[in-house]
């Protein structure tokens, strides 16, 4: 039997397996990705070099996969920290009174008001680019919308009848949080976390592409795309097209996984 729920579950599983495979394979291919061989320069895709080679004779398949792996690992770290920030600030805004709420809400509006990529470049540049620049830049520019969701969820929960009654029955605050609040917030956090990935990966690629992110020695997708720009006019299409395609597939898969998670968690939302 193949109902829609099972199909969604399978899709989620496929996305998870595919993305983990890229992450692990990329980490193992890292050495090969930087290996130069000037006898094998600018080869179009064939059986030994699936994605061809670049101007230094490096295997583009190894470079693409390890670049994506790096992106996914950066995405994992930034999405984790961003989710944590969102959870802490969202909960603080909802529970610590009007002053704190106004301050945090103002901070959310302010950060959201600045164009994403601009904020990212500013922060990354300020902390000295490179890995830390990307990490801090993406972390600090991606927590806002989830924080907003958590804030309103916690506010709604606090006013819900069953929590008010539990308070009057003398249930301890910690137990209320554990029993009534966390089970409700966990799926929100999970989904927010997974949906942060595609953003983090795309933004990592864009700021590296623009030269404000990872350094040129690293096999990052942004570096690959930036380098391939120079060779496009010479007809070396595979340098940009295949890594670009893989980037799009990766991002789409993360998006798909997030949407599948939403549907599984809240079947009614499938109608939206």
């Amino acid at each position: 039997m193949m109902n829609r729920r099972r199909r969604t579950l399978l899709l989620l599983l496929f996305a998870i397996i595919f993305l983990s495979a890229i992450t692990i394979a990329g980490a193992m291919l890292e050495e090969r990705a930087t290996l130069t061989d000037f006898t094998q320069k600018n080869l179009p895709p064939d059986r030994t070099h699936l994605f061809g080679t670049d101007f230094m004779g490096r295997d583009m398949f190894a470079r693409t996969i390890s670049g994506l792996s790096l992106s996914i690992r950066i995405g994992l770290l930034t999405a984790l920290i961003s989710t944590l920030i969102a959870f802490l600030l969202g909960t603080a805004a909802a529970t610590l009174g009007k002053g704190v709420d106004a301050t945090i809400s103002w901070l959310i509006d302010l950060t959201m008001g600045i164009p994403h990529i601009l904020l990212l470049i500013l922060i990354s540049f300020a902390v000295g680019k490179g890995f830390m620049g990307v990490l801090i830049g993406i972390t600090l520019s991606h927590w806002m919308s989830l924080a907003r969701i958590i804030r309103s969820e916690v506010m709604q929960l606090q006013h819900s009848g069953y929590i008010r009654v539990a308070e009057k029955l003398g249930v301890r605050k910690a137990l209320i949080v554990q029993r009534h609040m966390l089970p409700h917030l966990m799926p929100q956090l999970m989904i927010g976390f997974v949906l942060l990935f595609p953003h983090a990966i795309l933004h990592e690629a864009s700021i590296t592409f623009l030269g404000f992110g990872l350094s040129p020695e690293q096999p990052a997708i942004g570096i690959i795309l930036a380098e391939s720009m120079r060779y496009l006019t010479m007809g070396y299409w595979w340098l940009a097209a295949l890594p670009g395609l893989m980037l799009i597939i990766t991002v789409l898969l993360f998006n798909l996984a997030g949407k599948a998670l939403v549907k599984l968690n809240n079947p009614a939302s499938a109608h939206l």
């Binding site: 008010r164 029955l169 003398g170």
Partner: protein, 202 residues
Amino acid sequence: MILEANDISFRYHIGSAQILSQFNIRLQRDERVGLVAPSGYGKTTLLKILAGYENADSGSVLLDGRPIQDYKGYCPVQMIFQHPETVLNPRLKLAVSLKEAGLLPRRILDGLGIEDDWLTRYPAELSGGELQRFCIARALGEQTVFLLADEISTMLDLITQAQIWDFLLKELEMRHIGLLAVSHTMELIQRLTTRTVTLDQR
């Protein structure tokens, strides 16, 4: 023990309707009082203020001379709401929700007709009337001294209504719990209570 409200005034927002103004009520723990008023006159609001769910804008609510908000832990004034589905966590089995009131004697579950099999279910798997019995049981924790009942039997059929009130009256009498009951059915109020208070300042 005495539950009293002195000169309480209340409105939900600045500029919205004044629901209560300078209202007074006094309840002894051996009394059963009926609260009567048309819809929208603030019966539910009054109960919420007396149980400490809302704060009055002015005036005081005292239990034994102490402000009701000062009672930490289990509140001796417990309210039973009109809509049980809003006060039960949909993600928790009913046994867990019920346990929040502390240990309840078998007598209460039997008296309210709560079947063992219901305890392992989620709120969505029971009817409104069945859920309401859990809410009534939960409000009868050991330290309850006053019970505020907000049209608690409207979703029950007449026979069940009679059974539940019959049990409740015996339980209240045995434990000397005071009752403030809201109902639109005058006959029910007259059967249940020793006196009636009308909310008619508007």
